[in-house]
């Protein structure tokens, strides 16, 4: 019988590979929030989010857009006086919400990450137009037109290929991936 873990313990466990101090060392000083370039677009500042995790406010944390607004710039990590790997904590929350299917509605981040990984395990390479199909439906009509114009400019200037690339050793590559995550039967 597995013991019931508290939410803060679950997140701490998800950060096992982090090379920083545990979030229980947080001083609540707010250096992360003062440093974060995306903080004004977050429901809760990074400092508040850490406090909420430690208080086991699971539902409130999962409903927050904060961790999907993190750009992984690692500024908070560089400045945290307690040495916490805050960007890794944001990744841990992203993974947790994706595995549990609990991300807030309307966010592009979860779909984008999923589509990106699927694209890579299928071809080994990134191809921007394939990704666009996953996020464009969530854009406003005006934003779609904007994106279309930008993309057309890139194609015309030769910066956007029209055909996706694939690696040559794709068969072995996919067998390699299969040893890590289930991606269906070998072809």
């Amino acid at each position: 019988m597995v013991a019931d873990l508290s939410f803060s313990q679950e997140i701490t466990n998800l950060m096992y590979a982090s090379h920083g101090e545990p979030i229980s060392h947080c001083l609540q000083c707010g250096t992360c929030s003062g440093t974060c370039p995306a903080v004004e677009f977050m429901d809760h500042s990074p400092r508040a989010l850490i406090g909420m995790i430690r208080a086991d406010l699971k539902e409130e944390v999962l409903a927050s857009n904060t961790y999907w607004s993190c750009a992984s710039c690692f500024y908070c990590n560089a400045r945290c006086p307690a040495g916490i790997d805050i960007a890794e904590m944001m990744y841990a929350l992203k993974r947790y919400s994706m595995w549990k299917g609990r991300s807030r509605e309307g966010l592009i981040g979860p779909d984008f990450s999923e589509a990106f990984v699927k694209m890579i395990v299928n071809s080994g390479r990134s191809f921007e137009p394939l990704l666009a199909a996953t996020y464009l439906p969530k854009f406003s009509a005006a934003a779609i037109i904007q994106e279309g114009l930008t993309a057309t400019g890139l194609v015309l200037s030769g910066k956007m290929p029209l055909l996706p690339k694939k690696i040559k050793g794709l068969k072995n590559f996919r067998r390699m991936v299969r040893r890590i995550i289930p991606i269906g039967e070998p072809e």
Partner: protein, 295 residues
């Protein structure tokens, strides 16, 4: 001639062709041999980690394994995101034997094995540490006199911290620009984030982050912004129009890879550096000394 295993990354084949061209042309001038890793795969940027950490490290490790197989001692990435992923994966392979075992179990399927024995480096380090700035200055026969350049480090080149280096106020990019005769400008936000993939997942946030960078660089007199990463370059350049529309601004500041500016200072034909006609015209209008004409 020192040899390096070169990992271009996906962007250098599409959005950042000019970075690839100029990197190859400039390294050649300095006698650095970049050998592209055969059949490399995507490094995952920031998009794998939200899904599966072990998968993220494994995909990066395949590239490291291919580079080790080449017999190279150094793995070089021109993209800051690729560099950061390769750097930390390589270092974890050395410090975490359990992780290394898991990864090597998966790599067996591709007849590969990784040791984490390489030195992982960003392209810009080669000029600072291997070539050295005196040599860069000597070779810069067409110095970019009077050109005011904003050195934009971005995030992942500098952070997370690797050792005891200065992550708050690095100076090596400024020094490199001085070595090619340009005038590096001082501005506070040189290591602030461009938004990265938020340009896709949170457009409003990313445009605002780009706007802050453009504003800071322009207020401090930048004629051009120099970048070390294709993501930064795309966000600052391609989305400049959208920033203008969103914020009612009128920015039209060229954004170029540091290798393109180096190439011009070395007198390499702009066409071989992927430097566009409009960029060249805008530089020539501003620089006292004229960069080489396109042939």
């Amino acid at each position: 001639m020192k040899k390096y295993a070169y990992y271009p990354g996906c962007s250098l084949e599409s959005l950042a062709k000019g970075y690839h061209l100029s990197a190859m042309a400039v390294t050649k001038e300095f006698g650095l041999e970049l050998n592209e890793i055969k059949d490399w795969n995507c490094c995952g940027s920031t998009a794998y980690f939200p899904v599966d950490e072990l998968l993220a490290y494994t995909l990066v490790s395949r590239n490291l394994a291919l580079a080790e197989k080449m017999g190279a001692s150094d793995f070089v990435a021109p993209c800051s995101a690729c560099y950061k992923n390769a750097y930390f994966t390589n270092s974890y392979l050395q410090s975490d034997t359990d992780l290394a075992d898991h990864i090597n179990y998966a790599l067996e399927e591709d007849q590969l094995h990784v040791d984490g024995s390489l030195k992982v480096r960003h392209l810009i380090e080669l000029f600072i540490e291997d070539v050295k700035l005196e040599e860069v200055e000597k070779k810069a026969t067409h110095p970019l006199k009077g050109l005011r350049v904003a050195p934009y480090y971005g995030c992942q080149l500098v952070r997370p911290r690797k050792a005891k280096e200065d992550v708050e106020n690095p100076r090596y990019f400024e020094n490199l620009l001085s070595a090619i005769g340009a005038e590096p400008i001082e501005y506070a936000n040189k290591t602030r984030c461009c938004g990265g993939s938020l340009i896709i997942t949170n457009r409003k946030a990313a445009l605002s982050m780009v706007q802050i960078l453009l504003q800071d660089a322009v207020i401090h007199g930048a004629d051009v912004i120099a970048t070390t990463c294709p993501m930064c370059d795309v966000n600052l350049e391609v989305y400049q129009e959208q920033v203008n529309r969103e914020f009612g601004t009128h920015y039209s500041v060229p954004v170029m890879y540091f290798t393109q500016l180096m190439g011009l200072a070395l007198g390499i034909d702009p066409g071989r550096l992927g430097v566009g006609k409009s960029e060249l015209a805008s530089l020539q209008a501003k620089a006292v000394a004229q960069p080489a004409e396109s042939q």
